[in-house]
């Protein structure tokens, strides 16, 4: 198992390095010139060149990528202009190792920007995850137990509706009615636990969490329902019944235990990608998480930030894959030994 994990981590790191290069190449393949974008109005070609230099986009792409990799190991100075270092050292920003880059547009290291945004996305993901997993499994099990009845059809139908509606629509709807018009909850605002305590934190996350959860819950209701129904047809469930186990115990210990195993895989991966930021929800509710940061980076043509976020998300997904695989070995004894 240990060797397996090491192997997976190494291949993950290689993948991340390759992805960083791909991000660089894609960025410079874009028809939009970031220097023209950042240069002021009435920007002459000479000024545009100066801006390109200021942004650090004047070197060939492979040199820039090499500098980036070097920065991860050694740290970097921005701008890395030796003349400026001599005459005006105060104007040079240092990005200590491991330096994922420095966003000129935000005047901060990518690592700091990500660090600030991460708790927001993580909080949102956790709250959404709890709502959607508990709701998804509960409704899924109920639908499975009441298969074919109006309750089953109602649950499946409603979850389909939430699945089909765009997140921004559901988000804006909840925002407008629950927070603004009916004022059931205060206007959603992210307050960290350290700043406002657990309750304030949670209240701030309710609406965006619910928005996200409703979308994911729909899928989990349907999957849970399908997996529970599938497990109910299994021989071992008949065995459990034949033992004289109470129906609740048959459901929870035998049926759901089997049904939840595939859900764990999916939930793990979904959570990982969600920790990487929920773009639409964060935008609608104005939560400064990784999703919104990613949009900002892409829209502002902020290469360092874009690369940083892409790599971070890739790391999350790769890690989640490894964790889910390892977790699976604990969940399913057949995988553990076999």
């Amino acid at each position: 198992m240990f060797a397996y994990i090491v192997r997976r981590v190494v291949s993950g790191i290689i993948l991340i390095i390759v992805m960083s290069l791909v991000t660089f190449l894609l960025f410079f393949a874009s028809p939009i010139d970031p220097a023209r974008f950042a240069c002021g109005k009435n920007c002459s070609p000479a000024l545009q060149e100066q801006t390109r230099k200021a942004l650090g986009y004047d070197d060939p792409v492979f040199v820039q990528w090499g500098d980036f990799l070097k920065g991860v190991v050694q740290g970097r100075d921005y701008p890395s202009d030796p003349a400026l270092r001599k005459t005006a050292p105060a104007t040079i920003a240092h990005c200590p190792a491991p330096c994922l880059g420095y966003s000129k547009l935000s005047n901060d290291t990518v690592l700091n920007l990500v660090k600030n945004a991460f708790p927001v996305s993580l909080s949102l993901a956790i709250v959404a995850f709890i709502i959607w997993i508990s709701g998804g499994i509960a409704f899924g099990v109920i639908a499975a137990l009441k298969k074919g009845t109006i309750i089953d059809r109602g649950i499946v139908g409603i979850s389909l509706v939430f699945f089909a509606f765009p997140t921004f629509f559901v988000g804006l709807f909840l925002y407008q009615f629950i927070a603004i018009q009916w004022q059931i909850v205060p206007i959603p605002n992210y307050v960290s636990i350290a700043d406002g305590g657990f309750f304030t934190w949670l209240v701030g996350l309710l609406l965006p969490g619910l928005t996200l959860a409703l979308f994911y819950m729909a899928g989990y209701v349907r999957m849970t329902r399908a997996f529970v129904l599938e497990s109910m047809g299994e021989d071992y469930l008949r065995t459990a019944n034949a033992k004289g186990l109470a129906p609740r115990k048959v459901l929870v210990k035998h049926s759901m235990r089997a049904a939840l195993t595939p859900l764990v895989t999916m939930a793990g991966l979904d959570l990982a990608s969600l920790v990487g930021g929920a773009i639409i929800t964060e935008t609608v509710f104005n939560y400064n998480g990784l999703g919104k940061l990613a949009v900002t980076a892409a829209r502002n043509l902020d290469l360092p930030l874009t690369v940083g976020i892409v790599l971070l998300l890739a790391t999350f997904v790769i890690m989640a894959n490894i964790i889910v695989d390892v977790l699976y070995a604990f969940i399913d004894p057949r995988v553990r030994v076999g």
Binding site: F37, G40, N42, P45, E49, L84, N107, I180, Q181
Partner: protein, 572 residues
């Protein structure tokens, strides 16, 4: 101000315009809330778009220039806090004792600093600070993104590239050039220009790039979001590029040294990242802190029906600084009659209706915004606002070109509103005998239309003046000598090239007063109209809600049509 060199800025501005409403310049006075100011409280500024720079030499967004000018950055001269639209764009002394004295036909300007003006740490503002501020604009590899007129105007030697040899205070190469062009004598600063700069006070009042900067606070690019104030407020803590920030009163500012601002709230808090819908929803429901909120985000047309009763009393409309227009591509559409037919057939009313009607846009008679000094309606645009298909068809038939005449209309699209607006134009053109291909572009818009080889026939454009002088409209848009190169057509997307116009532009630049320049520009505008170098579509409108506890609310040309923070207050 629309900045077509910055795709996002323009996209955002287009979004503003495409969701706006309107009728009539200046803020309406009838429905202002309490005009009596009351001190204290917190004013909230709800907005979407994050500031890109807070560095005075790098700021270039109309909203930020206006807001920061009222709160933290004082200029030698400023536009007054007033509800009188005629007064709003007449500079008044601010840091300076007067509005400056010019010599040598506007080639040399001097200003004297007022006594008692201080930085937020209590130190006096000096002439050296003013000089240092201007020097920063020359560090083009550090101080990027800001207005760069000064690089061309200041009387310093230039390299072949067009950039001055002086490269700013960080590397300080050729510093002697700069020291000669900008001199301090006691508290008096003197600028020397290589051509007349009669509208300098307008530029100083509009931009922040002429503002002083303290050398010991300067960390170059690292200072991009640093605010070292000399105004009535100062930034509390650090600016958060995602969230915004809170400004609190600056104890080292005194009302006696500031004839311009009438600051009332204790705090002004900026909340960034909220969408139009959310902001206007919140302002309509007017609860909690939102009662003390203003915004720069227009009411979306879908919300118009909700603006009635008491809510309507909190809605105000004014002209924005932006004018939208069409540019015929002179590389494609060489036949004047065809361009005249296009102009005659243009249903700008249909375009504006698609954008939301009179609350979003009102008719434009020139590419020049009506608030600018020397504005005159362009006599060439006589066609009815809905277009005249029959007259247009006649013109097109007379052109000798085969009909239907195929045209490709490239616009900044991708939203339902912009597509609807473009379709309205296309419908009018079709009636006159054009065969229209719509070409909506989004993020790549300016990259495409700035290519000299672009084969669009008609191109959408938007522009806002950098300061209220036509010198910041017509030359940057139509002077082929500064725009057209082999790589790009600059802002002259229509590849318009006229020696007559270029000569007149030189003539205007040589005039020693803004008024004299204005007369020449009116002549140029008439020529542009004759050539159908552009077709005006609209003066974009600002239609804003505010909270019920906001006092002294004023959408003024002095603050580019955004809420004037120089007088706004909050009732308890």
């Amino acid at each position: 101000m629309v900045n077509p060199r910055k795709p996002l800025a323009a996209v955002a501005a287009a979004a503003v315009a495409l969701t706006l409403a309107g009728c009539g310049g200046g803020s309406s006075t009838s429905n202002n809330a309490s005009t009596k100011g009351s001190k204290g409280g917190t004013l909230y500024y709800l907005t979407f778009r994050p500031a890109e720079h807070l560095d005075p030499q790098r700021m270039y967004i109309g909203r930020d220039l206006a807001d920061m000018g009222r709160m933290v950055y004082r200029s030698l001269v400023s536009f007054p806090v007033t509800k009188n639209a005629d007064e709003a764009l007449k500079p008044v002394p601010d840091l300076a004792t007067d509005t400056g004295t010019s010599k040598n036909g506007g080639r040399q300007w001097s200003f004297t600093l007022r006594d008692g003006v201080k930085w937020q740490d209590g130190k006096a503002i000096t002439c050296a600070d003013l000089k240092y501020g201007m020097s920063r604009s020359f560090a083009t590899d550090v101080i990027t993104g800001g207005p760069n007129y000064i690089l061309g105007f200041l009387d310093v030697p230039h390299a072949k590239s067009g950039l001055p040899l002086y490269d700013g205070p960080y590397k300080n190469d050729h510093a002697a050039d700069f020291d000669k062009a900008v001199t301090c004598k006691g508290n008096t600063i003197t600028y020397r220009f290589n051509k007349p700069f009669p509208d300098l006070p307008l530029a100083i009042a509009s931009l922040r790039s002429f503002d002083p900067y303290r050398k010991d606070q300067d960390q170059g690019d690292k200072s991009n979001f640093a605010v070292f104030s000399d105004g009535p407020y100062k930034l509390q803590g650090k600016w958060d590029t995602n969230k915004g920030g809170t400004f609190v009163r600056n104890p080292n500012w005194s009302q006696s040294s500031d004839p311009v601002r009438k600051p009332l709230p204790d705090q002004i808090q900026f909340v960034q990242g909220l969408t139009n819908e959310v902001i206007n929803d919140r302002l309509i429901s007017d609860s909690g802190n939102d009662q003390a909120a203003v915004t720069d985000r227009v009411v979306p047309p879908a919300f118009y029906s909700r603006i009635n009763g008491a809510v309507a009393d909190r809605a105000t409309q004014t002209d924005s600084p932006f004018v939208y227009y069409l540019l015929p591509n002179f590389n494609q559409m060489k036949n004047l009659k065809v361009r005249q037919a296009l102009m005659m057939a243009t249903d700008s009313q249909g375009w504006r209706n698609a954008e939301g009607g009179s609350k979003a846009a009102k008719p434009a008679k020139s590419i020049v915004n009506p608030s600018l000094v020397g504005y005159q309606p362009n006599p060439a645009f006589t066609a009815p606002q809905t277009g005249d298909a029959a007259a247009a068809k006649k013109l097109l038939q007379a052109s000798g070109e085969a009909m239907p005449y195929p045209i490709k209309f490239t616009y900044n699209g991708g939203t339902p509103t912009s597509d609807k607006a473009a379709a309205a134009l296309a419908a009018g053109w079709k009636k006159a005998g054009f065969k229209v291909t719509l070409d909506p572009l989004s993020d790549t818009y300016y990259d495409v239309i700035q290519k000299p080889s672009n084969d669009s026939d008609v191109i959408w454009g938007g522009w806002g003046a950098d300061w209220p002088s036509i010198a910041t409209v017509i030359p940057p848009l139509f002077d082929s000598r500064i725009n057209l190169t082999s790589a790009s057509n600059g802002q002259d997307y229509g590849n318009y090239r006229s020696d007559t116009v270029n000569k007149l532009i030189d003539k205007a630049a040589a005039q020693g007063t803004v008024q004299a320049q204005g007369k020449v520009y009116a002549q140029i505008d008439a020529q542009l109209g004759k050539d159908v170098a552009y077709i005006p579509l609209e003066v974009t409108q600002f239609y804003y809600l505010r909270g019920s506890k906001v006092t002294g609310y004023n959408l003024s040309p002095a603050t580019n049509g955004y809420p004037d923070l120089g007088a706004a207050g909050v009732t308890k």
